[in-house]
C-alpha cells in the first residue's frame, strides 16, 4: 500500500470516502449512465434540504450536543409560515417567506436552547422530547392537510432554475434557485465558525466545557445561541423543502433526522464534540444522498437504505474510537523504556 493511501485510510472520513468511490464505481459499471452531469445535478438537488439541516446540526455537534428535533422544527416552521401567509393574504416577496420560517424556527430553537443552556438538561433527551412535542403541536393545532394552493411567489421561485438538462432516460433534471439557499447558509456558517469569536467558543465548549467556563466564556449564553441558530437554519430548510415540492405537507421532513445526523457524523463531526467543518458536512450530505438515490436507481428496495444508513452511522462514529484505541496501543508498543 502506498503512503498517501494508507494515510487516507487512517481517518474515518478517508474510509467513508473510499467506500463511496468504490460504490459509485460499481454503480457506474452496472449502469454507465450513472456518470453524467445530469446525475450530479440530480444528486445536488436531492441534497438541498438535508444539507441545510446538516449545517445547523453540525454546529450543535461541534459544541458537544446533539439535535434530533431539527426536522420537526423545519416542518413546524414551514407549515406555520404557509398558514400565516395564506391567512393574512398579502403579497410578500419570497425573501419574506424564508425570513418568517427562519424566525419561527429560531423561536422553537430558543426553547431547546433554554432547556439545554439554562436548565442544563441533556441535549439528546431535550431534543428527542421536542421532536415529538413540535410535531404533535403542528398536527394538533395547525392542521394535518396538505396545502397545495401555495402562493404564486413560491411557484415562481421554484420555476427559476440555475441549470436544466435532460438525463439519459430523457427526463428533465434541474438545479433550482433554492440551491442558493444552501450556498448562502453554508457561507454564513463557515464565516461564523471560522471568523468570529462566537464560532470559536462553540468549539471551545465542545472541547471542554469546564475549561471554557474557567477562562470566562459564558457557556450557557453560547449554548442558547447555538440552538437558536440551528432552529433558524431548520426553518430555512423547511421553506426550501416547500419550494422544491410546491406544496406544504405537515407529515414531511420528520423521519429525516437520522439521515441528517449520519451525514454530519460522516462529514467528520464527532458525537463527543469539538470537531466539524462545513466542507466535511457537505461531503457527508452528498454521500448520504448518493447512497439513498443510487440504491433506489439500482432497484434495491428502499428498506435497504435504512440498513445502509444505520451501518454508516455505526462505522462513522465507531471508526474514530477504534482508530484512536489502535493508535494508543501502537504508541505504547513503540514507546521505549530507557529513552
Amino acid at each position: 500500500m502506498s503512503k498517501p493511501l494508507s494515510r487516507v485510510l487512517a481517518t474515518p472520513q478517508g474510509v467513508v470516502l473510499i467506500t463511496v468511490l468504490v460504490f459509485a464505481l460499481v454503480l457506474g459499471i452496472i449502469n454507465p449512465a450513472f456518470f453524467s452531469v445530469a446525475t450530479l445535478i440530480d444528486l445536488l438537488r436531492n441534497s438541498l434540504v438535508t444539507g441545510i439541516f446538516a449545517l445547523g446540526v453540525m454546529m450543535v455537534l461541534a459544541s458537544g450536543g446533539i439535535d434530533v428535533s431539527c426536522t420537526a422544527i423545519g416542518a413546524f416552521a414551514m407549515y406555520a409560515t404557509m398558514k400565516i401567509v395564506l391567512g393574512v393574504d398579502v403579497d410578500l416577496p419570497i425573501f419574506a417567506f424564508f425570513a418568517l420560517s427562519a424566525l419561527i424556527g429560531a423561536v422553537l430553537g430558543l426553547f431547546n436552547g433554554l432547556l439545554i443552556g439554562i436548565l442544563g438538561l441533556p441535549t439528546l433527551i431535550v431534543t428527542l422530547g421536542t421532536l415529538s412535542l413540535y410535531r404533535g403541536l403542528l398536527l394538533t393545532f395547525l392542521g394535518t392537510t396538505y396545502i397545495t394552493a401555495v402562493p404564486r411567489e413560491i411557484i415562481a421561485f421554484s420555476r427559476k432554475v440555475l441549470v436544466r438538462m435532460e438525463n439519459a432516460a430523457g427526463q428533465m433534471v434541474s438545479l433550482p434557485y433554492s440551491f442558493l439557499v444552501l450556498v448562502g447558509v453554508a457561507a454564513v456558517v463557515a464565516i461564523l465558525i471560522n471568523l468570529t469569536l462566537f464560532g470559536r467558543k462553540i468549539y471551545a465548549i465542545g472541547g471542554s466545557e469546564e475549561a471554557a467556563e474557567r477562562i470566562g466564556i459564558r457557556v450557557r449564553h453560547v449554548k442558547v445561541m447555538i440552538y437558536v441558530l440551528a432552529g433558524a437554519i431548520a426553518g430555512l430548510a423547511g421553506m426550501t423543502h416547500v419550494t422544491l415540492s410546491r406544496m406544504a405537507n405537515p407529515f414531511d421532513l420528520v423521519g429525516m433526522e437520522l439521515n441528517v445526523i449520519a451525514a454530519v457524523v460522516l462529514g467528520g463531526a464527532r458525537i463527543t464534540g469539538g470537531y466539524g467543518t462545513v466542507t466535511g458536512t457537505l461531503l457527508g450530505v452528498f454521500v448520504i444522498t448518493m447512497i439513498n438515490t443510487t440504491l433506489l436507481m439500482a432497484g434495491v428496495p428502499s428498506y435497504w437504505q435504512k440498513v445502509v444508513i444505520g451501518g454508516l452511522i455505526i462505522v462513522g462514529t465507531g471508526l474514530p474510537i477504534i482508530i484512536e484505541r489502535l493508535s494508543r496501543h501502537r504508541e505504547r508498543i513503540s514507546r521505549s523504556l530507557s529513552a
Binding site: N194, S208, G216, G273, G274, I333, R335, L337, S338
Partner: protein, 504 residues
Amino acid sequence: MTPEAKDKPAMLEMRTIRKAYGPVRVLADVSLSLAEGEVRCLAGENGSGKSTLIKILSGVVGADAGTVIIAGRPQGNDAKAAISAGLSVIYQDFSLFPNLTVWENIGFLAAVTAGEMVHRRSVRRALAIETLKRMRVDIDPDTPVERLPVASKQLVAIARALANNARIIVMDEPTTALTRSEVARLLEIVGALRDEGVAFLFVSHKIEEVFAICDTITVLRDGRVVVEGPIQEFDAASLVEAMTGRSIDSQRLPRTQAEPASPFLSARKLGRRGEYADVDIDLRPGEIVSVVGLLGSGRTELALTLFGALAADEGRIKIEDRPVVFAGESDAIDHGIAYVPEDRLTEGLFLNQSIRDNIVVSSLEKNLRAGFIDARALVQRARDAVKALRIKTPDVAPSVATLSGGNQQRVVLARWMERNPKLMILNGPTVGVDVGSKREIHELLVALSRSGTAVMVVTDDISEAIALSDTILVMVRGKITGRFDANDVDEDRLYNEVIKEGRA
C-alpha cells in the same frame, strides 16, 4: 531568591479571609500577600483549606469575611474581574481545549477577556508565537493540544496566562505529572518570568517541590496560617511538622519482624511493552512491599497486571508456586487477590449507597440462606466491620458520601477484608486522606499483614512507604531500580532514587 522582593509593592493581598461551608469552618482569618516577582508556596495537607483559598482568590467562590486586593483593587466574587485584574489560575488539569491548536489555546483567554467579536487568526497566532518565544519554548503552534505530552500542555497553559498579561500566576501542584528534567525546565521558565516581575503562587503539599521552587512560604493547617516566612527559615523536617502538626521522627510504625514465609505470589521477568519491563517481585504473607515511583513510572500498570486487569506481554506469575495466567480481574479475585484502586471515589465506592451495602457487596454469598440473602446477618457483619476498622459513623445505614476521606477509604478496605484476601494490593491508599486517618490506615495495614495477608502498596509518597513497609522497591521508567529494607533507608536517599531518570 530575590531579597529585593520585599521592597516591591504587593500585587496581591488577602486579608483575614473567612469561609465556612455550613457548620464546617474551612478558613479562619487567613492572610497572604504576594509582591511583584515573588514566588510563594502555599503548602498544606489535603483538607487544609488550600483549594478553598484559591477558589476565593480567583473569584469562583465568595468569602464570608475578609478582602482580596489585586493590583490595588478590591475584588468580589467575580472570576472574570479577577482575570482582567491580571490573575491566572493554572489548574492541575490545565483546562485547555484538546481539540484546538496550541496557538488558538494560547490566544483564547486574551480574546475572551478583551471581549473580541472577530476571530483574528493571524493576530492571535502571532501573539502565541511571540509568547512561546518569550518563554523560550519550542512547541509547534499548529499542533492540536491533545497530541502534546503533559509537560508541554503545562507550558501552553502558562503561555495562555502570559498572553493575557497575567501578573499573578497561581499553579496547582505543578510538578505532579512532570519528570525531573521537565521540572528543571519549568523552574527555568518561572525564574525568567519572575525577573520580568510576574508573581507566582504555587499550591503544593509536596516537600521536595516546595524547596525546589519557592522564595517564601505560607503553611496552612486546618484552615489557619500556622507559619509563614522566607524558605531559608525552613528545612524538610520543620516544614513537615508545620504541615502535619506532628514530628517527623516517629513516622515508622512499630511492628514485629515478619516471619520468613514462602511467597504467595511471585513474578519473574514481567513486562508490558511501553509500560514496564523485567520486573521481579515476591509478595509474602506477613510482609508489606511498597512499589515507589513517580506518575508514569509504570507502578500503576504493574499493580493492575498483578490484579489481572492488564495483560503482561512477557514473564510469568506464580501463585503458591503454581503458574497462573489471569484472563481478567475476576480470575485474580478467585485466587484471593484484592485491589484498592487509586481513585476510590470513581473506581471503588458506590457513593450514594449505604455503608452497609458498600461493605458487603462483594461478599454477599457469605450470608446466603437457602439461596436467599439473610439481610439481618448482612447488617450484623457490616456493623462488626465498622467497629473493627473504627469507621466513624453512627450506623451502617447512611450513605458513604457522608463520610470523610479517611473513613471512606476504610469502607473500601472493609469490603475487601470481608473476602479474607490472601493478597491485598493498594494503589495510593492514603491519597486525599487527612494526617490522623493516614496513620490509622497504616496501622490497619500493618495489622492486616501481621495476620498473614500479603500486602503490596503502590505509592509516590516516600514517607508513607517508609512508615508502612517492610521492603521498598523503587520503580523508575518501568524498571525496578532499587530494593531497600525499609528499616535502613532514609527519605533523602529514597527520594534521590525515585527521581533518577533511568540509569544508562
